[in-house]
């Protein structure tokens, strides 16, 4: 069986690793640290907007994307097939979702804004059709002293969508004890504290006594960093249906997705190395023959195939100095403007060019260095050029689908 080294252990790296390991491949994932899953809002987005207008049918809209977009390189038909595979794969690892690549639904952001989404985790609040709300009355349970969910904005946003919203502040012993520290009240620390049956029972008691005549109870996403056990238990203890709404980062749901992907990858025999970021590589005769890592004394790691999944600037897959934009591990060719003044725009809410920068790839997502293609090196996820996670809502989609496309190609020996 052939071997693959994946550089980067976020959503795309792990997804690609899983797809390969499931088929018995020998896979090593080199992780450099936390991934952009920490921004997760509980949904995956395939294609949310084009030129500022929301997309209703993401698969159909792929045709109107420019040729340089990763979806166009992979091909619309293949994307449709891979989208189904992605959902199944998430399901296999224990992340059950609702949604359909042919028609977007709406996720509700921490500020109460409806944004188009492809897949939303089952326990997260979503709306299929904004003109036909399935329920009317919502109780928004706000944790006292928790500032990482802007409840006022969330409530107002929901009211603007047509809901009747009652904001109910509550706390429990476990929560109040966290607030005694000036800095500990974060979604992730709450999630660690709110695991036991007793802790969840106390929350359920508050929900049951305070939610009045609401048809649905919304809670901040502070439950279940490893899996959905605590959310399911809490639902069992509550009289009314519960849904979660994402918080400001670090996102519990992102950590959970990471944990479940990783758990399954390890079960399949995958080799995941944390804190062992790749630092460079050896390129000979148009092929990558080995990578070096940050771990001291570690030998050069070798494999048949390599996949670059190091992410964008946030994850340090790309970087900039005052003169140029570069890829950080192998100094690969990048699609980026040379003139620094063109990287950004004056207005903070305007589209910024640097968001679309990434490594140059061919139609099979293989990388180049100094104009020469590297035959056994593919790029996936946010390190790819030509897409725009912030404005087009295609970040998680590109991560999942480019990962599966490349895994397919490697399995087919292409």
């Amino acid at each position: 069986m052939s071997s693959t080294i994946i550089i980067g252990g976020g959503l795309s790296g792990l997804t690609c690793g899983l797809a390969l390991a499931k088929r018995g491949h020998n896979v090593t994932v080199l992780s450099g640290g936390p991934s952009t899953l920490m921004f997760s809002g509980g949904s995956m987005e395939l294609l949310g907007a084009i030129d500022g207008q929301p997309v209703t049918a993401p698969l159909d809209a792929i045709a109107s994307l420019p040729d340089c977009h990763p979806y166009r390189k992979i091909g619309a038909e293949r994307i449709a097939d891979l989208a189904g595979q992605a959902r199944e794969l998430l399901n296999d690892v224990g992340i059950t979702t609702a949604g359909d690549a042919t028609a977007n639904h709406w996720r509700i952001t921490p500020m109460g804004i409806a944004k188009p989404a492809w897949l939303t985790l089952n326990e997260y609040f979503r709306i299929d059709n904004l003109s036909h709300l399935p329920i009317k009355k919502i109780a928004l349970m706000a944790i006292r002293g928790f500032f990482d969910q802007p409840n006022g904005m969330l409530a107002q946003g929901l009211r603007d969508l047509g809901f009747e919203v009652k904001v109910v502040e509550f706390t429990t012993d476990e929560i109040a004890s966290l607030r005694r520290s000036p800095t500990e009240m974060r979604a992730t620390t709450l999630a660690k504290r709110l695991l036991s049956h007793n802790a969840l029972q106390r929350i359920a008691n508050q929900v049951n006594s305070l939610s009045g005549d609401a048809e649905l109870v919304l809670l901040p996403s502070v439950f279940g960093q490893k899996n959905d056990d605590s959310v399911r238990l809490l639902q069992d203890l509550c009289d009314k249906p519960l849904r979660l709404v994402a918080t400001l980062p670090p996102a519990v749901v992102g950590m959970r997705i990471q944990a479940q992907l990783l758990h399954y990858f390890m079960m399949l025999g995958g080799d995941y190395r944390t804190g062992e970021a790749a630092t460079g590589g050896i390129i000979e005769g148009g092929r990558l023959t080995g990578v070096t890592t940050a771990k001291s004394g570690s030998p050069v790691l070798t494999a048949d195939n390599y996949v670059l999944a190091t992410g964008s600037f946030v994850s340090r897959g790309l970087a900039a100095d005052a003169r140029h934009i570069y890829e950080t591990v192998l100094d690969l060719d990048v699609d980026a403007d040379e003139d620094r003044d063109r990287w950004t725009h004056f207005g903070v809410l305007e589209p910024q060019n640097y968001w679309t920068y990434g490594v140059t790839t061919d139609e099979t997502l293989r990388c180049f260095k100094q104009g020469a293609r590297i035959e056994n090196l593919h790029a996936i996820g946010s390190v790819l050029s030509g897409h725009n996670a912030v404005k087009m809502g295609d970040g998680t989609g590109v991560s999942l689908l480019s990962a599966l496309a490349v895994a397919q190609d490697i399995l087919a020996g292409k």
């Binding site: 990482d148 000036p182 946030v314 620094r340 950004t344 903070v348 640097y354 912030v390 809502g393």
Partner: protein, 548 residues
């Protein structure tokens, strides 16, 4: 006092401009018993006051070229150490000589400093490196001087608070649209209230023009011409802070030769370019300014090349051509106080301009003297003898047992001095940190909202330093926006406010958007736009506004 009471009162003096000079003048006038109104068109300290190094000059920088200014600086430096202690970090400064510089200049410099009364001590370069390891190790000479770091926002607020304690009324977001004149006399100002879009005419016996570089506009409303020569200076903020002391180049003042430690960051400046008067509102920093500062800054401290550039900003010095030479060739860098009755035959108008931040109190005294002379008031100036609010007691938590105080309490005491006691800390919610970089608690925000004229997040930043640290408001701005929304009961305003705040932060980041600053920008965009959809919310609001 209701707003209509405020508008219908006739004041002894109306001061236009809420920078440190206007604030200091309001304090001085109020302490001499005058009935005072201060108006500011934006927020307090938005002009040159909030756009400089935050350097409390010892005067050493001017010793060789302008002995008189140097003597003024060191005298005021000593005054500030007693009356504004909570605004100051007494770091001391170094003037370093590099191999490219002329070491003989150091002797000229030390002699000039001593002549101006500045305690300048030439020290061994090795000792200088021990005092501040951030200094360029190649130095061949060093002089220690009593420079310090000062927070201009805090200094302005302290002066305003004291003015109010002495009965002054201060209004921000009130723009002067015209002056009320009658028979060659200025008798008041026409105000536009930007907070509620209303207009009012307010009367006063004397109007003081303390509007800095914008003062020429106010003067021209009264039919007076003041030949202003705007000198623009750009600066860069680096973080986290690298230097302990102020680091200066020991040579004639030039570009990028001062590095000031400022709380959690280091500030490098400045450039100096004459700009046309029409360009004074464009504060965008150019690529050339950034590159010049980076080249020169690396000579002061090579460590700067490895430190993140957090943001860039620019300010405009209000320099005035002397009246006997309107060509602008001889420009006064000293204090300029113009009584327009004597100069132009317009009674009731005094302009105070020129000078430096550190000499603001002297400027205020000169302006107040001119006002008092007109009104027949003979009360003496006492602003140098009475401490500002916040410095009127022992600085608890800074000097004594620091273990008794939390990081946030110490930060608040540092910012507000004795007034930190007004920050609620009765329960764990009040003590919760909103801004982790700068240690700003819920209690401190509540205090600022209640007592410090805060209408939006940018105001809050100037009063508390929220969002001014390493992460530039990445997470705290959303938390603070939520708190403000609860206080003002206006959610939609909270979202536009948040977008404005992020835009204001981005304006400073964009000229230096590479390295970790570009990463932070992408991080912030991922949160506020990608995850939260703030851009969608703002677009929807604009569409609705357009429909109306």
């Amino acid at each position: 006092m209701t707003t209509s009471d405020i508008y219908s009162t006739t004041y002894d003096v109306i001061i236009v401009g809420g920078g440190v000079t206007g604030a200091g003048t309001a304090r001085d006038c109020a302490m001499r018993g005058l009935k005072v109104l201060l108006v500011e068109r934006n927020d307090y300290s938005t002009g040159a006051t909030g756009r400089n190094h935050g350097l409390m000059h010892s005067g050493a920088r001017y010793a060789v070229t302008d002995g008189e200014s140097a003597a003024e600086c060191i005298a005021e430096n000593r005054v500030m150490r007693t009356i504004a202690r909570h605004c100051i970090e007494p770091t001391d400064g170094l003037f370093i000589t590099l191999p490219d510089d002329d070491l003989q200049y150091q002797d000229t410099f030390v002699t000039a400093c001593r002549n101006a009364g500045i305690d300048a001590q030439a020290i061994d370069p090795a000792e200088a490196l021990q005092l501040d390891p951030a200094v360029n190790p190649d130095i061949i000479g060093a002089v220690r001087v009593p420079d310090a770091s000062i927070d201009p926002f805090r200094l302005t607020v302290a002066n305003l608070l004291d003015a109010r304690l002495h009965g002054a009324v201060t209004l921000n977001y009130h723009e002067v649209e015209g002056v009320v004149t009658s028979q060659g006399r200025v008798e008041g100002v026409k105000l536009f209230n930007k907070l509620d879009d209303t207009r009012a005419e307010v009367h006063g016996h004397v109007v003081v023009n303390a509007a800095g570089i914008w003062g020429h506009r106010l003067a021209s409303m009264a039919g007076v011409d003041i030949p202003m020569f705007p000198a623009r200076g750009a600066l860069l903020i680096f973080g986290p802070r690298i230097n302990r002391m102020v680091i200066n180049r020991c040579r004639k003042p030039s570009n990028g030769d001062i590095l000031v430690p400022d709380g959690t960051v280091s500030v490098l400046g400045t450039t100096s370019d004459r700009i046309p008067i029409e360009a004074i509102d464009d504060m965008r920093v150019t690529r050339e300014e950034v590159d010049t500062l980076l080249t020169e800054g690396a000579k002061l401290s090579p460590q700067l090349t490895r430190t993140r550039i957090i943001r860039a900003y620019a300010g405009v010095r209000p320099l005035v051509a002397s009246d006997d030479d309107p060509s602008g060739r001889s420009i006064s860098r000293g204090i300029v106080c113009l009584d327009h009755a004597q100069r132009d035959g317009i009674e009731g108008l005094v302009t105070i301009t020129g000078g430096k931040m550190i000499t603001y109190r002297l400027m205020a005294q000169a302006a107040t003297d001119a006002v008092c002379a007109k009104l027949g008031n003979t009360a003496p100036c006492t602003t140098a003898d009475r401490p500002l609010p916040g410095s009127d007691g022992p600085a608890k938590g800074l000097d004594d047992d620091t273990t008794r105080y939390s990081f946030a309490q110490r930060a608040a005491i540092g910012r507000h001095g004795t007034l930190a006691a007004k920050c609620d800390s009765k329960d764990e919610i009040d003590n919760a940190l909103v801004c982790e970089c700068e240690g700003v608690t819920v209690g401190e925000i509540k205090y600022a909202l209640k007592d410090l004229h805060v209408y939006n997040l940018v105001n809050l930043r100037r009063r508390t330093r929220l969002g001014m640290g390493n992460c530039q408001g990445k997470l705290c701005s959303c938390r603070a926006a939520s708190l403000l929304a609860l206080f003002h009961h206006d959610i939609r305003r909270a979202q536009t406010d948040l977008a404005n705040f992020l835009d204001e932060r981005w304006k400073g980041m964009r000229p230096v958007a590479w390295g970790d600053t570009l990463r932070e920008a992408q991080f912030t965009a991922s949160i506020y736009q990608g995850l939260c959809g703030l851009d969608t919310a703002i677009n929807q609001q604009q569409e609705q506004d357009n429909k109306i």
